[in-house]
Amino acid sequence: MGDGFVHSRSDEAENGAPELGQVLEHSAAPVAPSPRRLKWLIGVLAIGVVLAAAEYTLLWWLKSAQPAEPAGDEASSASQEVLRPLADRYRGKVGDIQYEALQLADFVLTKWPDDIGALFVRGLILNKFISRDLGVACWQECIRRAPEFAEPYYWLGIDRFKRGEYAEAIDYLDKSIQLGVRLVDARVALGEAYVCVGKPEDAVRVLEEQLIEFPSHPGTHFYLAHALEKCGRLSDAERHYREVIRLQPDNYQAWHGLAMLAQRQGRKEEAAGYFEICRKYQVAFHAGHQEARRRYDDAESLATSLATAYTDVGKLFIDRGQPDEAARMWQRAVAVDKEHRESRLLLTDYYAVRREWPKAAQLLEELCALDPQNLRHRVNAGAAWMAAGNYLKAEEHFRTACEVFPDRAEGYVGLVELALVMGRDVDKAVQLAEKVVQLEPTAEHHFLLARARWAAGKAEDAVQSARRAAELDPGARRYRDLLARLEAAVNKEGAQAGPTSPASQEALR
C-alpha cells in the first residue's frame, strides 16, 4: 500500500483485505464503552459541539462586524495629534514656507490653547499646508467643544462633499446654515448635495432662500436653474440661466444649460445658437484656465496661502481686542505676499483708524497697482492721500477714477471734496457735484452739492440742495443740521452769505 496510489475498496477486496463490516466489527470490540461511559462521551462531545458552534458564530460575527474603513481610528488619532504642536515633527521635511505656516499654527495653539476660534483657524492652516485630515480633526474637535460654532460645520460639510458622502455633507452644511454661516458657498454646496441625493426640491428651497439675501449671486442662480431642471420646472430653470447670463454674459455653463433646455424642448435652432455661444466662451475660458496652469508658481501660491494664514490669525487678535498684534500679523502677510489683497485692506483700516494716513495711502497705492480697475481702491487711495495732505496724488487718483469709470460718481465726489478742502476751483467743483447728483441723486450727493454751492457763493442754490438732501433722508441729522445752518446764515446775511462770511464758516463747520 505504500506505492503512492489510491486503492479502491474493491481492489482491497480482491487482494484479500477485510470487508468494511468486518473492520468495524473488529475495531469496535476492544473499546466498547459501558452505558455510563457512553453517556459521559456523548456529554463531552455535546459540550464540544456547542462550544464549536459558539466559536463559529463568534468568528462570523467578528468578520461581519469588521468596519469597512479604518476611518474612526484615523480620525481619533488625528484628533489627538492636532492638539499638540506639530512643527518640530515636520522640520526638514517640508519647505520653508510650509514650516513657517506650521509654526504659525502651533503659535495659535499655544497662545489660545482652549479657544475654539483659534483651533478652527489652526484647522484651516493645517488643512492647507499639511493634510486635510488634520484640518478635519481640528474642526471636529471644535464642534465637540462648542456644538453651536457654525464655521467648522461648513468646512466639514465641504470635506464630506469632496468625499462623495452627500448625506453627511447635507447634515453638516444644513447645520452650518442654521447656525448662521453667511457664506454663499454653503447654500450652493448644500443645493448641489441635495441634487446628488435625488432631492432637487430641497435644493430649490435652499437656493431660493439664498436669493432673498443675495439676489445677484450668479452661482446661486446657476445651481438653482440646474435643480429646477431636475424638478422638471424648465421655464423656471430657463429664467435663472438667463439671469446668470445677465450677470455674467460669458458664463459658458449657463449658455450650455440654456442650450440643453432648448434642445430638450425641441427648439433645435435656438439650441444651436446657444451652443455656438457656449463654445465661444468655453474656448476662451479653457485657454485662460490653461494659461493660469502654465503660469502657476508654487512659491507664489504657497506665499499667498501663508499670507492668508497670517491674515486669519490677525483677525483672531482683533476679535480678542489686540489690534496691534493683529497689525503685526497683517504686516507679515503683506511682506510674505506682494499681492495679498485682504491683509492690505485690513492693515489700511488699521492705519486709517489711527490716522496714519501715509501708511494707509501707501498700501492703497499697492492695491491700485494690483487691481487698476478697482474703483474702491482708487477712490480710497485718493481719500487717504488727501487726508495725508498730498493733494497732488489724491487728485491723480480721483481723476483716474473718473477716466476709468466715467459713469460712476465716486471719482467726481473725490474731486469735489478735494476742491472743497483746498478751497480752489470751487466753480468747477459745483459743476462736478452737479454731475454727481445727475449720476446718482442720493441724499449724500445733494449734501455734497449743497456744500460746493455754498463754497462757490451760491447760497440759495446751496439751501435748495441741502433741503433736497434732508427730504431724501429725513432721518439723517447732519443734512437737517446743514440745512438749518445754511438757512440761518442766509437769513442773517441775505443773498451775500458766502463761504468767507462768519455765518458760512459756522454753517460749514
Binding site: 459540550i47 468578520k63 468625499r163 440643453m260 502654465r294
Partner: protein, 590 residues
Amino acid sequence: MRLPRWILAPAFIFVACGVVGVAIWRPAPTARCPFWLEDVTSSTGISFVHTDGSSGRRYIVETVTAGLATFDYDGDGLVDIYFLNGSLLPGCQPAELPRNALYRNCGGFSFTEVTAPAAVGDTGYGLGVAIGDYDNDGFPDIYVNNFGPNILYRNNGDGTFSDVTREAGVDAGNLVGAGASFLDVEGDGDLDLYVANYVNFSFETYKPHIVEGRHIYPGPMIYDGVPDILYRNEGDGTFRDISSQAGIIEDGVGTGMGMICADYDRDGDTDIFVLNDVAHNYFWENDGKGHFTEVGLPRGLAFDAQGRYLASMGVDCADYDNDGWLDFFHTSYSEQMPALYHNTGKGFFEEVASTAVPGTSLFPHINWGCNFVDLDNDGWVDLFVANGNTQDNLEDLAAHITYRARNSVFRNNRDGRFVELTQLAGSGLEPVESSRGSAADDLDNDGRVDLVVLNARSSPTIIRNNSPGGNHWVFISLLGLSSNRDAVGSHVTVMASGLQQLREVHSGRSYQGHCGSRLHFGLEQASRVDRIEVRWHGGGTQMWENLPVDCWLLLIEGEKEALILPLGSSFSGRGCLIREWLARVLPRKR
C-alpha cells in the same frame, strides 16, 4: 496539575474547530448581495507586474499607463489576456526591459504566459490597445498605442503574431498615445483604425511640477494636445492617414484618453466618442461616407450636466436602461463625478450621473477603467469602475485620497439608477491598488462575466464572478461575411421574457483597452431566447427565433441557423469549430 478529561476534550474540540475555522474561512455570498466577486489572482498563474517606469521625475506618461485587452487570440473558445506594460524611462534604475504580456487561458482560471512564442512582447511604453481582425482572416489582431511608435501585430492564426507595423504604415510617429479603436468608417467591410493621442510631451521639455511644496505629476493642461489619427484600411494590408480628409482634425487638438465607437443614433454608420482629459470631449459624427463632424456639444456629450469639462478617462457603451438606445458612461478625475450620458433617442444625450450613480466610492478617487457588465445575469447591465490616483505621494494628505484605492461595483436598480455594492461584493473588490485598465469577459465560460484589472506598478487583479442566483444567459458571437469579419459596429438585440436588450460589437473600450468581443446577455429566468435581431454593420438585418439559453451562439451573416458553440475548458483544441467554420465561409468573403 492534570485537568480532568471532561474539560480537556471539549477544549480540544473548541481549539481544533477554531484553527480549522480560521484556516478555511471563506466568506460566503451574503443574502443581501446579488454579486459575488472573488479575487483569484494568486491561483491563476499570472505573474505579470506592471511598471510605469517610476523614474522619480514624475513624467506625465507614467500616470496614464495602461490599458489591457481580453480576447480569444487562438480561437480555442477561451478568452485570453493581453497586458500592456510601461517601459524604462530616463531616471529609472537599470533593470530588465519590461514588455507587454500575453496570457493564454488554459481553462479553470489557469493561465500560461505565451508572450515569447506568440511574439507580442513589445517593449515600447504601452498606453492603449485595440483588438480587431483588420485583414478579415478570422483571427484577431492587436494594435498597441504607445508613447513612441505604435505596433500592429497581425495574428498568423497559429498562435503567433507578426509585427506588420511598417508595412501597414500605422506607427503614428513618436507621440504620446492613448486609446485606439478599429471601426469600419465607410461600411466597406474593412476595419479602419482610429488612434487617439494625449499630449505633446517630450523629455526635452520636461520640467518638475511642484504644487504646495510637493513634487507631483502634472496634469495635461501644461502641455498642448496632439491631433488624433484616422487610418483608412486600404484592404491590402496597408493603411492610409485620412485624418484631414475625414474631418477629424478641423476642430483642433484634444488631449485624448479612452475612446469608443458606436452607432448612437442607429443610422447604420459608426460614430466616434473620444474622451479628452481636462477638455471637452469629442464626438465625431459619421455622415455614412466616412466624413466626420465634431458634435460633442449639441449631442450633449462634451460636458457634464452642469456644462463643465471633466478630466475624462475611460468609457463604455451599453443600453443601461433597456430603452433601445445606446448610452455612454465615462470616468473622470477625483472630486468629479463620472458622466453617465443617457441617450434620449432624440439625437442628444442627457448627463445624469449625479442622480443615477452614487458617488461615495467614486468621487474621492480618479476613476479609470469602466465596464457596463451584467454581473448577475438579470438582463440589466451593472457597472464596474477601476479606481486609483495618479499621485503616489498623497498618503499624508488625507486618509481618503490615496494612490491606491478599492475598485467599485454598482448594481443596476432597473429604474435608471445604480446601487453601490462594493463593500458586499466579495474579495474581488478588496484589493487596494492604483488601477487603470479594466476588462469584462467570461474567463471560465460559466456564463458569468469575470473581470480583469490592470494595476499600475503592481500585479493585476483577476476577479472571478461567482454570483449566486442561477439566472440564465447567452453568449453571442458574430461572424461577418460582407461586413467586417468581427462584425464590429453591428447591433444585436435580444428579446426574452419581454425584456429587450441591445448591444453593439465594439473594438476598443474602457480605459484604453478592449474586451467583450463575445457579447453577453443576462436573461434572468427566461428559459428561451424569443428572438435575436442582428443589424450587420454595413449590411442588412437578420433574425433568429426561439433559441436556447445558457449557451454560446455563433451567428453568421447570411446563415439562417444559429450555431451553438461548445463551452468549457474541455473545448481547447486548436482545430476548433470556429476555425472549421471559418474555413467554410472564408472563400465566400467578397
